[in-house]
Symmetry: C2
DNA sequence: GTGTCGGCTCTAAGCCGACAA
DNA sequence: TTGTCGGCTTAGAGCCGACAC
């Protein structure tokens, strides 16, 4: 049922996963979550995980104590009764359901460690729009609060918590360390052939091949010096080209090289190369240290974006919306130090200006709820590991004929199971907050993107996507295709934030590379329970609960197992009192 | 019962307060808040505020609909029954109590406007330590989250919300506009005589006189160019000198001038003047444009703080605590651009070094829970309206013999009713967050201080303290002394945040001066209901409530009437999904 | 083997007047 | 006049086996 294989088959670490403790996971039924009764425990599950009952009694029962991720103990009455006999959790169950706010479709997971201790976690079902206060999405305050919190944390070189719902979102920055290292050190050049695991909805473990056509880099004004390169690829299989054209370096296995000329045969590339400034395809660079043309300078002087310079001052999030919003002041010129264009918006040079005209300004609301714009940047100047940044909010429906503004989802309304392109979404000016002194600046970008999130399990060994990756043996995507899949409506496409900076944690087993100006890469290990606790304890929002009542905006979210989005709408606020 | 007089008797505005609509306020009893029953409405109150019932019926009843500050409608069944007959709110009442989390001792307020609409608000009782998650107080994340939220808002010239509990905290920055203007424009010099309303616990409306002995200014590294001057005073009445030695310019009425020499006769001044650098007492300046000695430079060279320079790098809040905290990195050198001392720590010059030695570093926790340090700054250089800043966390108990580090509460464990000194509390390095470009920087400081909060009503016309001030006709302090007063233990002294920047709102009736680099001054008008809504709607944390369940950390606080502190513990977090 | 339902118990919410302060 | 209490009703939480898939 649950595949416990680990991803890195070549790993030397002791694969504690092989000796996985007893556990089970059950999707909650209507009966399980109703107030009418308790929780029906699958027989095998109860026998595996729970201490044995004395079946000689007429109604064998015992009290179970299980700890959740936060160390909170939950007590349940476990009884074996009914005709036919079955295992049930009665007293205590409804409290758990209520406190965790579980609904039918969510899943609960029990796990018994070697010493007999019982743990439990929850995994929420994907809920369209999920009861989130809409203000969170369209709200500038939320954006900026999150931004500033993170920025502050980074400026202090402190930590910040990430609330992460693996099944609901793609977090490309959560990458096995080896994969990341291999990705950024292996030489990748334009023309490199590669293969990559790619999971279609119906055909898991498909191995696709393609050619690297470009090495992306972001407009340096937005995400300077990021190590997170973005590779634009062309797949040998045409079907793939409709789904994904961008990958992260660590997602692919280089398998050879292709002459620049053969790349040109691609219709898409022909189109792209029509522009006046093109990359030099024979640039051979490791992905981690690319050295490409200084596109920024050339663009600046070539005035490709003539008439669009104001773009540099207009926040895609605030944008016109902000200007037209009474009482709000567009402050983008406070954030962007100097007038500039966004070179990131010009690829290929002959195309983006058109695309941008009339669309370049992307108000927050439009971006969030109705993703329609996609900006990309390629082949920017590179000093060591260069900047790359992607604005992706989806594409205008019906415009997918233009491959350069094509969302990977454009042609698959229900999404494909593994979308692993390293797009980072449309970014507001405010996304860039500078901290620290002139000598020691740090920057943080949080961006949002539109994504589908359905996924299927996958055992691949070199799978950079997250839907196929197992955080600790568990597939992070759906355990199994749901019988009645809740198809995310195109309108209700997912929105998430990701960020470039993450926290560094020296503890063994997992860590996240805090990367001032570098890529955000989280490293996860293989030990399931260790990560169960360690990763989870780091990757969540924990708002202290106050004696049952949630008077302080309390909530506990079971992070990594948790699919339900939890957003603390923290309008900019000050508490005046303790 | 409730004095509806306004403060500014000379105001030309239509004093809508005179025609105050019908209203009543009742402190909730145990019965009112128990689940056992409803709400017992005082007869007069019901007759005044509620639509009349048909008393011919055996059990007259009706449905009442009242809006709270947030526009939320609350429905109550109003019934007249019992033997003897009385007015009760039954159905709907418990919902209200639960949602608002009211307890016995809290108060509810009903108000009927001219058009018959019913409004209601709540005022929470003072609760010691108030169930606040302790992590909020001692938590660096909370601090910095708040800081960064505000900083971000200011950088965007947007708004941020202030959660303000008038009875529980002093917000010196909430000042009538005229008072503020008068304060900063009237010429105040060292030696100026003044009078000021001052409310002792037992002797309200006492008018005290004194002499301005210093004009405070903050260490420019922390709060540059603040207009909020701080006047150090010596009272004619010696009793006063134990309670308060610092006032804001708008708190006093200048009444004359004193020769510099006569000031010197003060023992305290003698002590102060023993230092090498003293203010020039004949500096005659308007409070809003003082020009004093550059203490900073002279101190820097005089090396008064020799051996203490590391203070400049050590956050009073992070302090040693941060250094000794494993895993945390002291980032103060990232925030403070260059090595410097804190001139604010050196007054008088011959005294503070001693005080600071061994105590200068004030970890956050110690500061919050056990306020023991007080740093002050005086007579800094002035360009226009100059900086002033005060670090105040209280004083070491038993050290109050040192008047310069004497908290106003040092000698009154239960506090005095009106503490209106403009102290700003001990400030963390992180308190200063720079935003914007080099050309257009802005800074924001949030600070914390230790305060007692009991208060008594006061009708004064020139009362800068808040306990005596009426926000909209209602005294912001206790309506009446509670029969069984919950004495805040000295240990549980109040902690609050205040900030320099506030939001600007052009609307008539009230506004807050957003003050980039300037003083934080809120202007309030006289119309009760207008302010009731307007001010309150701005001065609160509003965390969206989600359909009854507080799954998203929801809560609504009724700000200005609300005494219970609400702190959103927003650890630095990122939500990855909607 | 297990999801859902009707039946049942029991707790607590909540309405009432009695009674006393 | 109004705070608190005991009595009472009632809704719903929650335990049970029946039953069906």
């Amino acid at each position: 049922m649950i595949n416990l294989d680990v991803i890195e088959e070549e790993g030397e670490e002791s694969l504690a996963l092989r000796s996985t403790p007893h556990m089970f996971c059950k999707t909650l039924t209507a009966s399980d979550t109703s107030t009418h009764g308790g929780f029906s425990v699958p027989r095998r599950a109860a026998e595996d995980c729970f201490p044995p009952l004395d079946y000689k009694l007429q109604r064998p029962s015992q009290e179970l104590i299980a700890k959740d991720l936060h160390g909170v103990e939950w007590r349940f009455r476990h009884i074996y009764r009914g005709q036919p006999r079955r295992h049930l959790l009665t007293t205590g169950w409804s409290i758990f359901v209520n406190q965790k706010n579980l609904v039918s479709g969510d899943a609960v997971l029990f796990l018994r460690s070697e010493n007999g201790e019982l743990r439990l976690g929850i995994r929420r079902a994907l809920r369209p729009r999920n009861g989130l206060p809409s203000s969170v999405i369209g709200n500038q305050n939320s954006y900026s609060s999150i931004l500033s919190s993170v920025a502050n944390a980074i400026s202090r070189r402190s930590t910040f918590d990430v609330f992460y719902s693996p099944r609901a979102t793609h977090a490309e920055f959560v990458v096995p360390y080896k994969m990341y290292i291999a990705g950024i050190t292996s030489p990748i050049c334009i023309g490199s052939r590669f293969k990559m695991r790619y999971d279609m909805e119906d055909a898991p473990e498909r191995r696709c091949t393609g050619v690297v056509t470009r090495i992306g880099d972001l407009d340096p004004y937005r995400w300077p010096k990021s190590k997170w390169k973005c590779l634009k690829v062309q797949w040998d299989d045409d079907i793939m080209n409709n789904h994904q054209e961008r990958v992260s370096p660590w997602e692919i296995e280089p398998s050879g090289s292709l002459s620049p000329f053969s790349i040109q045969h691609s219709p898409r590339l022909k189109k792209a190369r029509a522009g006046p400034q093109m990359a030099q395809p024979d640039n051979l660079v490791p992905a981690g240290a690319v050295g490409l043309i200084d596109f920024e300078e050339s663009l600046r002087s070539s005035k490709v974006l003539q008439g669009q310079e104001n773009l540099g001052f207009t926040s895609p999030l605030l944008g016109v919306g902000a200007i037209s919003c009474p009482g709000k002041i567009n402050i983008s010129d406070n954030v962007i130090e100097k007038p500039t264009i966004f070179p990131g918006f010009v690829e290929p040079a002959d195309m983006f200006p058109k695309v941008l005209q009339g669309q370049e300004v992307c108000p927050l609301k439009a971006l969030s709820r109705n993703p329609e714009y996609c900006f990309g940047s390629w082949e920017n100047p590179s000093r060591g590991l260069q900047d790359f940044y992607f604005s992706l909010g989806g594409i205008p429906r019906g415009s997918s004929s233009n491959p350069l503004i094509t969302s990977p989802l454009a042609n698959s309304p229900r999404g494909i199971s593994s979308i692993r392109s390293p797009y980072i979404a449309c970014e507001d000016d405010r996304g860039r907050v500078k901290f620290g002194t002139e000598d020691n600046p740090s920057s943080i970008i949080i961006s949002s993107s539109s994504r589908e999130t359905e996924g299927t399990p996958n055992n691949g060994s070199f799978n950079g996507g997250f839907s196929g990756y197992k955080l600790f043996g568990f597939p992070l995507a759906s355990e199994r295709p749901s019988p009645s899949p809740p198809p995310p409506t195109p309108q209700a496409s997912e929105q998430h934030f990701c960020m470039e900076g993450l926290l560094k944690d020296p503890r063994k087993g997992w860590q996240v590379l805090y990367t001032d100006r570098e890529s955000a890469v989280m490293v996860v290990g293989d030990d399931p329970w260790h990560e169960f606790c360690e990763v989870a304890s780091k990757m969540h929002i924990y708002i202290q609960e106050e004696a049952g009542k949630m008077t302080s905006g309390a909530m506990i979210s079971d992070s990594y197992l948790d699919q339900s989005p939890v957003v603390i709408e923290q309008s900019n606020c000050i508490s005046l009192q303790t």
